[in-house]
Amino acid sequence: MNKPKKPLPSLLSIIGYPFTIIFTIYSFLQIGFNLEDFKTNLQNRKIVTDPLFNPKWSWAFENAAQALVETIQIAILASILGCFIALPLAFYASKATNQSTITYSIYKSFLNFIRTIPDLFWAMLFTVAVGLGPFAGVLALVMFSMAIMGKLLSETIDSIDLGPLEAAKASGAKHNQAVFTSALPQILPNFTAYFLYIFELCIRASVILGLVGAGGVGRIIETQRIFLRFDRITPIIVLILIAVISIEQFSVWLRRKIL
């Protein structure tokens, strides 16, 4: 019996495994990963843990509920605006619906560029541009959702059935007419599903926008954290948790209905 020779492990695995282990250990040391800190903190529980577990509910309802609503409003507004701006951009950023290599590359790189910038950075940028407050937050998340929708949707458009487009072109239709009647209906269910997904992302992202002064409940968390009022932070976090989970569950349910 002529058994085949067992192939040698690939170069990637020879280098990869030891590298991963060494890098992990090195990072542990470098970052100062130390379980002692936990112990110290637990001993200082008068400052941190005790107030954390003795939440001031009434304070949170009086002072944070409205900010939480503002957070949700920012997310709704931003995801609607961002996604609808991205809709036409996505058609320009797909080879299926844009034959010009030049404009295709421009739109594609534009969307990629926006996506590489983190949402918190956009928020900081817009607080400088339009001042502190929720409007800056909305603009930041518009950029955030536009970039994600642009990418997801343009890749979906890449894989549509080109037959109906060809049929419309063959009948003498203008390019935009062909795209609108023959390509758009094909991606509408995906668009709706992506929109709901992006809305979920925006809800989560909008919570921390306040940290840089771009409106919403994050601002209150930040101020209370500075004053070490953990008894006030706990109920806010619980409120956020309830809101985010219920909105997400609703959105997941809706997405499943559509696709």
Binding site: P164, S171, G172, Q177, P185, L188
Partner: protein, 256 residues
């Protein structure tokens, strides 16, 4: 009506799909093109509405040079040429009516078509076209809910809605069963006879070509190797076009 002047097509990969084809198709003709897959049937058909651009030579439709037409002129020429596809090319998620109205796009403004504000006149034409292929009752059904044969009839209605002078059918029955195939061919023939629309059909099945065709053209490796009346064509001619003996897969079968 349609004139090919020394038309050659070479694809970017270097494949010569058409070699110096010259051909004249008269008004009201019902022309059938046969040939092996890869013989250039589809390419020939697509040069007529410039979905494929000839590398050399020119195509003239109704006195207008398609090959040298500007973008705007091309849209006008195309609006007079209906096309039917092997895979129907319907928007599956849209209703039959919306699909048929696609055939009217060249006649309405972009804004109107985007908002779906179709003039009554165009809607009327769409209904008439659906009626012509006897599928009017399905107007508000989603295209994906129709059978293959019904979808191809919607494809014909969409082309008819253009009120075309020329009808191109690229393997219109290749995705259909024998009985439905004959139904679809009958509609094409009927439209040709009643409305006098010049019709060019690519077919793979020889018996179907004999049954419905009047004039027959044979393509082999991008060259025109046969041009004559269907009645005169012999089995040897077919063997010459196909470059081999006729097989049962070249026939649709289940003849009436």
């Amino acid at each position: 009506m349609i004139e090919f002047k020394n038309v050659s097509v070479t694809y970017s990969g270097g494949v010569k799909a058409l070699k110096n084809v010259s051909l004249e198709i008269n008004e009201g003709d019902f022309l059938i093109i046969v040939g092996m897959s890869g013989a250039g049937k589809s390419t020939l058909l697509r040069t007529i509405n410039n979905l494929v651009k000839p590398s050399s030579g020119s195509v003239i439709v109704d006195g207008k040079n398609v090959t040298e037409a500007s973008k705007k002129e091309l849209k006008e020429i195309r609006s007079d040429i209906g096309m039917i596809f092997q895979t129907f090319n319907l928007v599956n998620r849209s209703t039959v009516m919306k699909n048929v109205l696609t055939g009217r796009l060249s006649q309405v403004s972009t804004l109107r078509s985007i908002l779906g504000l179709w003039p009554n006149e165009d809607k009327e034409i769409a209904f008439e076209s659906l009626n012509k292929v006897e599928i009017l009752e399905k107007a508000y059904v989603r295209a994906s809910n129709l059978s293959g044969g019904q979808q191809q009839r919607v494809g014909i209605a969409r082309a008819l809605a253009q009120k075309p002078k020329v009808m191109l059918a690229d393997e219109p029955v290749a995705s259909l069963d024998p009985i439905t195939s004959r139904v679809v061919m009958q509609y094409l023939k009927q439209i040709n006879q009643e409305l006098g629309i010049t019709t060019v059909v690519n077919l793979h099945f020889l018996d179907l070509a004999k049954e419905f065709g009047e004039r027959l053209i044979g393509l082999k490796d991008g060259e025109l190797v046969y041009d004559g009346k269907v009645h005169d064509v012999s089995d040897e001619d077919f063997e010459n076009i196909y470059g081999r003996a006729i097989k049962s897969s070249d026939l649709l079968g289940e003849d009436e």
